[in-house]
Symmetry: C2
Subunit: 276 residues, 2 copies
Amino acid sequence: MDTWMRFMSSDGSIVFGRVEGAYLHEYEGLAQPVPTGAVLSLRALTPLAPCAPGKIVALWNNYHGLAAKLGKPVPTHPLFLLKPAASVIGTGEPIRRPGSYAGKIVYEGELGIVIGQRCRDVDVQQAEQAIFGYTLVNDVTAADLLTENPHFPQWCRAKGFDTFCCIGPAIVSGFEWRDAHLVTMLDGVERQNYPLADMVFSPAEQVSLISQDLTLEPGDVIACGTSVGVGSIREGATVSITIDGIGTLTNTLIAGTPDGAPAAAQERSGATANAV
Amino acid sequence: MDTWMRFMSSDGSIVFGRVEGAYLHEYEGLAQPVPTGAVLSLRALTPLAPCAPGKIVALWNNYHGLAAKLGKPVPTHPLFLLKPAASVIGTGEPIRRPGSYAGKIVYEGELGIVIGQRCRDVDVQQAEQAIFGYTLVNDVTAADLLTENPHFPQWCRAKGFDTFCCIGPAIVSGFEWRDAHLVTMLDGVERQNYPLADMVFSPAEQVSLISQDLTLEPGDVIACGTSVGVGSIREGATVSITIDGIGTLTNTLIAGTPDGAPAAAQERSGATANAV
C-alpha cells in the first residue's frame, strides 16, 4: 500500500506524490507515476483534494443495506449521475451553502475509486488494473432539490454545487477494500458505519460497467454510493469520514459567499477547462 | 458577427481562430482571444468541435412548444443534466452506437451557448457579457435508458456516451438568436423547425440561473434544450441541424467499435483530464 497526496506549496505551485513519514516524494502523472526526485517536508504544504478529476461519477443505490431500507430492488447496472470538476474540495476546506438555497443539506460518506488509466469498454480484469487507488468522498447533496420539480429529479443540480464533492485526504494504492468499514461522524457522533463488502457492484465491476457508458480518464473519481445513516448538516457542523487504512476526510459546512466571488476551492483545485 | 472554428492541422496540432473567407486567423484563448498573427488556409485543416468544453450542461423542457406537447408546466428554474467532455464530436464525425446498447437512439437539435468567462452567481447583464457566442448541438440520446430503471431516470447515462454530443460547425459571436429558427433534417427530410424565441429561459437567463448552481468555465457549453420533432436515428442515417447565420452541423450514426478501441473522437477532441 502506498499513500498519495496532493498539496499546494508555499509558492502556490501544486505538488503530488507519495507520502513517507513527514515527507512527500514528488511524482508526475497518475497513469505511470514518475518520481521527480524532489522530497518535500509536509510541514510547508497545504493539503488539496488528492486528484483533480475531470468528472465525478456518483452512484445511487449501490449497497444492499440501503436498498433494503429504501425498499427498492438492487440495480442491474450502476445508476449514476455526474458531478462537475468545480464541485471538488479537499479535507479541511469548507463546504459552502449555496446563496440561492435555504433547504436541507446532507452528507453521504462513500468510498471513492481513483482511475489511473483511460478506460473504455474494459472487462473486470482490465478494470482492476486501471484503478490507481481508493479515497474517501463526501457526496454532499442539497436534498430538497431532488424532488423540487415533480417531472424531473434534479440529481446533477442537487449534487453539483461548488464544494459539494469533498475528496481525500489521500489516495491509497493497493488498498484491500473488502474487509474495511466506512464510518461517518457528525460533530463527533457516529452516524454511518457500514461494511464496504455490502456493495452491490464491486469497484472493478463499477469501472468495467461504467466504461461501457463513458470513457473514464486518469484522475476521474467514481463515488461508490452510500449506505444507511445519511443525515442533514447544519451550518457550523463538521462531517468526518474514516476508512482505516485510507484516513479521515473532514469538512465543515459554512454559510455561502453572498458576494459571488469565485470559490477559493475552485481556484485551488487545479481543475481548468481546456477551452480551445 | 464573427465566426470562430477549431481545426486539426496536418501536423496534428489543434488551431482555433476566426474564419474570414478561405482563411483562419489564429487566436489563443476564449475569455480574451489574442491573435497569434498566423493566417492558415482552411484547405489544409480538418474541422473539430469548435471548443473543448470541460462539461456540457444540457437542459430539458425549455421550450413552450415542447412543454405543451408533453403536457407539463414550464419549469421555474432550468432543469439540467451534465454530459461529459468525452461525449463531444464535431461536424462530420460519426455518432457511434454503443456496443452495449441495441435500443432507440434519438437526435435533439439545440442551440448551444459557449461560455467565454468564468461565471458564478452572475446576474443577467453579467451573463450576457460572459457568453462568447452561439453554436449548434445535437444532444444525442439512448432513449430507452431513460426509463430502463423505474426508480432512477438515467439522464447522464442515456446522454453521456462517447460521440453523443455533436457540437459545431462554428461559434458565432454577436449572433442575434431572437429572430432565428432551428431546422433539423433527417436524411434530407425536415423533422424540426422551431423558433428560438419560444425558449422558456433566454440564453442570458440560463447562464445567470445555472451560475447559481455551478461554476461555468470558458469553453463550457450549455445545450439550450430541444423543442418538438425529436425522432430516432437508424444506422447510416444523417442528421443535419441548421441555424441561418451559424451554419449546419452534420453527423451520421454508425455501428459501434466492438473492439473497445478508444474513440477517435475523444483522441481528437483535445479534452484531457487534469489528473494531478
